[in-house]
Subunit: 247 residues, 8 copies
Amino acid sequence: MTNDALTELLSEIRDGSVSVENGIERLRDLPYMDLGHTKFDLHRALRNGFPEVVYGEGKTPEQVGEIFTRMGGHANILATRVSREMADHVLSVCPDAEYNAMGRALTLARKPIAYREGEIAIVTAGTSDLGVAEEARVTCEMLGSHARVTSDVGVAGIHRLLDRLDDIRKARVIIVIAGMEGALSSVIGGLVSQPIIAVPTSVGYGASFSGLSALLGMLTSCASGVTVVNIDNGFGAACAACKINNL
Amino acid sequence: MTNDALTELLSEIRDGSVSVENGIERLRDLPYMDLGHTKFDLHRALRNGFPEVVYGEGKTPEQVGEIFTRMGGHANILATRVSREMADHVLSVCPDAEYNAMGRALTLARKPIAYREGEIAIVTAGTSDLGVAEEARVTCEMLGSHARVTSDVGVAGIHRLLDRLDDIRKARVIIVIAGMEGALSSVIGGLVSQPIIAVPTSVGYGASFSGLSALLGMLTSCASGVTVVNIDNGFGAACAACKINNL
Amino acid sequence: MTNDALTELLSEIRDGSVSVENGIERLRDLPYMDLGHTKFDLHRALRNGFPEVVYGEGKTPEQVGEIFTRMGGHANILATRVSREMADHVLSVCPDAEYNAMGRALTLARKPIAYREGEIAIVTAGTSDLGVAEEARVTCEMLGSHARVTSDVGVAGIHRLLDRLDDIRKARVIIVIAGMEGALSSVIGGLVSQPIIAVPTSVGYGASFSGLSALLGMLTSCASGVTVVNIDNGFGAACAACKINNL
Amino acid sequence: MTNDALTELLSEIRDGSVSVENGIERLRDLPYMDLGHTKFDLHRALRNGFPEVVYGEGKTPEQVGEIFTRMGGHANILATRVSREMADHVLSVCPDAEYNAMGRALTLARKPIAYREGEIAIVTAGTSDLGVAEEARVTCEMLGSHARVTSDVGVAGIHRLLDRLDDIRKARVIIVIAGMEGALSSVIGGLVSQPIIAVPTSVGYGASFSGLSALLGMLTSCASGVTVVNIDNGFGAACAACKINNL
Amino acid sequence: MTNDALTELLSEIRDGSVSVENGIERLRDLPYMDLGHTKFDLHRALRNGFPEVVYGEGKTPEQVGEIFTRMGGHANILATRVSREMADHVLSVCPDAEYNAMGRALTLARKPIAYREGEIAIVTAGTSDLGVAEEARVTCEMLGSHARVTSDVGVAGIHRLLDRLDDIRKARVIIVIAGMEGALSSVIGGLVSQPIIAVPTSVGYGASFSGLSALLGMLTSCASGVTVVNIDNGFGAACAACKINNL
Amino acid sequence: MTNDALTELLSEIRDGSVSVENGIERLRDLPYMDLGHTKFDLHRALRNGFPEVVYGEGKTPEQVGEIFTRMGGHANILATRVSREMADHVLSVCPDAEYNAMGRALTLARKPIAYREGEIAIVTAGTSDLGVAEEARVTCEMLGSHARVTSDVGVAGIHRLLDRLDDIRKARVIIVIAGMEGALSSVIGGLVSQPIIAVPTSVGYGASFSGLSALLGMLTSCASGVTVVNIDNGFGAACAACKINNL
Amino acid sequence: MTNDALTELLSEIRDGSVSVENGIERLRDLPYMDLGHTKFDLHRALRNGFPEVVYGEGKTPEQVGEIFTRMGGHANILATRVSREMADHVLSVCPDAEYNAMGRALTLARKPIAYREGEIAIVTAGTSDLGVAEEARVTCEMLGSHARVTSDVGVAGIHRLLDRLDDIRKARVIIVIAGMEGALSSVIGGLVSQPIIAVPTSVGYGASFSGLSALLGMLTSCASGVTVVNIDNGFGAACAACKINNL
Amino acid sequence: MTNDALTELLSEIRDGSVSVENGIERLRDLPYMDLGHTKFDLHRALRNGFPEVVYGEGKTPEQVGEIFTRMGGHANILATRVSREMADHVLSVCPDAEYNAMGRALTLARKPIAYREGEIAIVTAGTSDLGVAEEARVTCEMLGSHARVTSDVGVAGIHRLLDRLDDIRKARVIIVIAGMEGALSSVIGGLVSQPIIAVPTSVGYGASFSGLSALLGMLTSCASGVTVVNIDNGFGAACAACKINNL
């Protein structure tokens, strides 16, 4: 609740145009919508600059379907971690939703998205990182930033990266996605001046420990100014990148 | 090496104004300066937008002293993780350096710093996080962004944070510094729309495991768009924040 | 074995009303019932104030079915971690049992439960924590305390929590259930004076490490007086809460 | 801020006895005191039922000394993790403070403490756990509950524990402190019906991993209703115990 | 190869009754049998006092079947970690083998087993530990020691254990099997003077971390003289117990 | 790009036989082939001495099939971590590929392989390590080195190893593959003078922690000169061994 | 309390030779001695077959000194983890104690020790393991078993071990002490038929992780029948070995 | 003991030129020298191709001094992990030893070292890795291979590495030393065809976890054919590199 809104409300109470009881209620009455299983925060968009986001894992197809049908008139919706089975159900009740199978993301964009200038570069070390990259790309698009994916430019073939560097440098923000040793963010971090958000992925086996090696590698990157999000969290990286691009 | 520079160099070779041998050498001759123990990259500032940075830990006072005296004429210098003893030595050979004891940072700024508009907010959960906060603040200032520290607004007394929220919201980028459970970044992340960079600190004992609890807490933050740097890495958070503020 | 019982038994031996051989046996004869696979402790209720509890995981449906049919006449029964398949079998042999699918709990309450005054608040950060919350709620009810669940009030939307605070404060004990960074217990801990029992959940991915991040976060909570139980242990939290409510 | 206080303030604004500007300020003006390095929350006692608490680690003797001299007139003070050196300084500027060397706790109690009925039992497995036990005992006393320490009754000599059981059972709440395998809380948990708060300690070597073995052991206790706090956190256990005893 | 055998062989070479070439071969020719996928060491029984043992996991039913049919005439066989499916195959080709489903052990004992005096006690904390207990029991029997299982005497109901103590004390060696906090070995260790071998089990969830909590708890047992084997390793514990019983 | 190539290119530019624009392009134009999902580096063989390698995990059968049909004319191909299902598909579209089921490797060798002199010994501790051994063996063969597998010579039967030692010593490089405690590399390391590459395997259970115990054991080997690769990484060990054999 | 003692006591109560009150007291009155800081269990020797043992770490020199002077008349004493400084103090107040500096053990043996037949072999991998070996040796001697140390026979020089094997085989029980990869217990386990107790040591650096590598290696030993104690726990290994030797 | 030696010995026994008793002894009499605290293996050089190596940590200056004076006539000696204090003592008793302070290595080379052709490149990411690099370099020289150190070419400034690449490529084997994210080995691995041995270092803080991040990063390197040694193990890397160079 902003300062201005508070000033206005208190003035109305003083004027008597809002009763004390009503004032309490309004101070209370925060703008969310309760679906029973989920509380929806309709004004979050205003507050954080984001549309409604649904984390699909741990929800039933029916719950997500209800969210899309009930909320779809009020706001654009992005659902992440959506299995093919869940997508099929939602599409059956909400046919204008769109499913991105590689990124496991389901979107509904009935309201036009106002795109900002400035592109976000999404760079992956290997082809196995593409699922996370797609989650990030779809999220960027839903949040109003254009994004482009450059894939398979891992550090063991440094020339592949150098070859694409000029393209990457055109972006305002760079998301770097890598598993295994996660070294790509350090190398790119030494070659560009843009903010870099690193996403470790759970790609790999053995001492990768489900993404731990990449996570630690990115956190201890010798390139200054690299920040990191959770393992496989393409969505979170995109949120951060869009907040930066919105500046 | 930029595209333009490459074009120019190749043109000069074609014109004969640069010999082939010389061309090879120039393609080789990357712009750094070798002090024996350390290679300095004089043009890094141009490339990354940063002054020279020295990581004090693991270096001798003499090595850092030499860096300050030899490099101080060419670039501003920021040395981090500088002990009191190291600082005393450097100040004895380079008296116009300045030591920030709480942030363990040593700076030399003979060249004027061009400050950008827009402030960076540095918010800490407890007073024990102030050392990391000072490292971040000094770094921001050296990199050309003004920064302000708000301390001791941890989540166990949420009203202390709410009280300072309007101030915090004035910043373009927010650095959140917390040890223990590292929850502050999640709470602030839900209240503001700016990019947030979270710094876990090694403050705490027992199950804090030297910052691991805060690190994991920040990485799994339920507030979308929070990015994380290494434990106690106030410097890295400031680098990232300044790159964002430079946009 | 209490002091009084010991005094009485020894007196009877001295009087000759109990033989030495018999005395040894009675000192031995602790009040449990042996089903072969499981030893049941019929007087545990007296000793600990709890009904019989069965941990379903690792048992066969047949074993649990036998427990319900054999023990159901002697005591109320609460079985936790009961799969749908196990529940179906038990219900087929013991039709008056009740299955709570979300909480994966099976109950049989042929004896009336004497409810204490005072309510237990069960608060969850996200909708994915509801299974653990239901396990806790059912346990509370079986142990004689009323409980109410408030869900989806995680710290990234702090206003949703503040809105429900008055309700939460009406309880005598508060169980806080959260995955990811587990910050909810710290925030509530700073806002109420009741005892708080925190339950980390395995909700999340990547650096959540199956609940480790929430566990560490809750253990290092900056709010004093928060205690913690095992990951996903809604049952244990409820036991502790009821012991407190029984005071 | 309570509901009542809000109602009253809004009524005053409606009446005109409080101006809008003033109302904003009062809603803002949360009751803490700023010492520069530390923000003190004078009304926390009211809100949480606790006196002021200072965590000594990471603070300078001078800072803690200032807190005692500045705050000592307003509230009782408990400082934990206070080294002998820090204690000496504080006692030199605040001679009526008291230092408990074993518990590393410094207290100042100029205001009379109102003790509740009901005792808290503090039980330790070994003599090496006595420091944590003392921290817990002093904290209980400062928070208004009497506490008694029973030490060296670890599970490898179960008869020593059984011998003391009647005494332990007289308490309303039991704090169990143990390092190594932390089994004491399970054994006591099976013998009493009171709430038990377990404190793992960092006593031990090798596979104790600085308290990790005891922590995991207590969290996975087969005795239902045991809750756990951070390693060596005698203070936190006492806070929780007193909150329970206050009911 | 023992000293005596070496002396004899060298004497035979000196006498000319064994040629040099033959001597080399015999020094080489160690007594095992090669099935291609597995090398079998027929004299291991002599050297280590054990029959042939097959670790079923990672082998195909066909491989284990071949071992039983090929080796069954030379030695008794014990196969551990045998699934129901593998057992069915082996029984189809070797009908006199016996399958212990709970202990997942398959045995073939065509040669009479010479039993030593002295019994091994196998004690479990919970019913879920019975699979590991059965693996241990079957192994003991195959190795020539009688074993008896006492189950479900975990420390949270200490009287159940005390009740069975006299029986347990009759054994020469005690195997203690427990998951969760693994405290049972400490308690028994303080009550008996026999050698104790502790087996942590992977029973449990959350902070049990698949047996890690019990493993650490047993390793740090405050009862002196408890030794530990790998998680769920009932076989290894039985081997050690039988080696001791053979003394 | 080698020094010579650079000299030649620059000379051609000076001569005008290559235009500046073309020069830029050629400096850029690195020799790989883009299949959309995967970038192929056709000259990697020249640069690193290896054929094309495909990591099967995380790819679809169709993608791998396309790689074999499209790339098979240009280079030999080795695909690792190939499931039976994936192999079936590839063989249906590329019938002259060969599948090694135990090593889960798929190969296509239309171009003759030039074998170097010198053999690589692959030694395994147990039969369960054979899958990793086969992956290593197939890789060696594809990279131009002959390899021989010696299996089931683990340290608990040291004579089995000593018996095979002369054979093992004939190799130029030794790959040692072991799970559990991984001790085999230390023992062999003390007996031979060849370079040893150790591969920990995920064979085992409990405290093996999916290969961690073997990995740590091999890294801390008391035999000097043992180097280690990732858990189960037979392919990587073979690559290293062949690079050494190529010297 | 044994069965016989219980029978006797109950008979006396029936006979009237022991009053009921007295009987209660005697059942209660467990035979330990309370020094304030430490409870001493004078009859533990009878119950567990051990003399009094003091764990020096975490105690003050004065406390240990008091234990030696007060308890020295009642029982032999063994104190472990005794620093030079602590030893000096104890020797000043109890001059007939003996300090073993390498094993950091302090002993007082005023009562004659009755030695059993049968020797315990203590075998170390490296010279750095000698401290732990000495702790084990002194403990064995105090517990009534002769012990002999064979050092520096690590697996990287297998012939050194084979050379000493006949000596080692003469023992009834073998304690194997090793750091780093801890492989020695597996190799010896395959060569002898005696019970083996393995002690991992914290010798090493890096991936040794303070003994973790050796601990995991020993727990996952491929030699059956090896049991393990805590890192650096020479005392515990000796206790177990003596319990076995006492059979 | 080689096959030839065995043949010869057995022939001598047959001939009677060696008695049976003597034969046993000679089979026993392995060629090492016992200094009490350390067993020295004089023929290890023959067997493994190495001089005598002493690991200084955990030894006293006097022990190392004795080794140098006693063994110095028989073999060259390399002592690693030698503190300045230890070096001073050894130099006082063995003045022709040489101390390399940065590499903490002490050498005595009275016998001429026969150098092989072929150089070993030692490449470090940062200046803080120089200590490990020096340990590796000195070891290489003692083992008969020339080595050259290239330092401070970490991946965050990729051009510094590319600039030195031609030099690095001249070596036969490459040792790559890096802390933090350890990415340097992946980048070099993609640029050269030589065998690469990677050494993670404990340089760094926070999520470096004392070298764990670099260790995991190097083990999961996406460049095939990189092998890894223990954290900070410059000595081990050099041993492996020299074994390779000796081929």
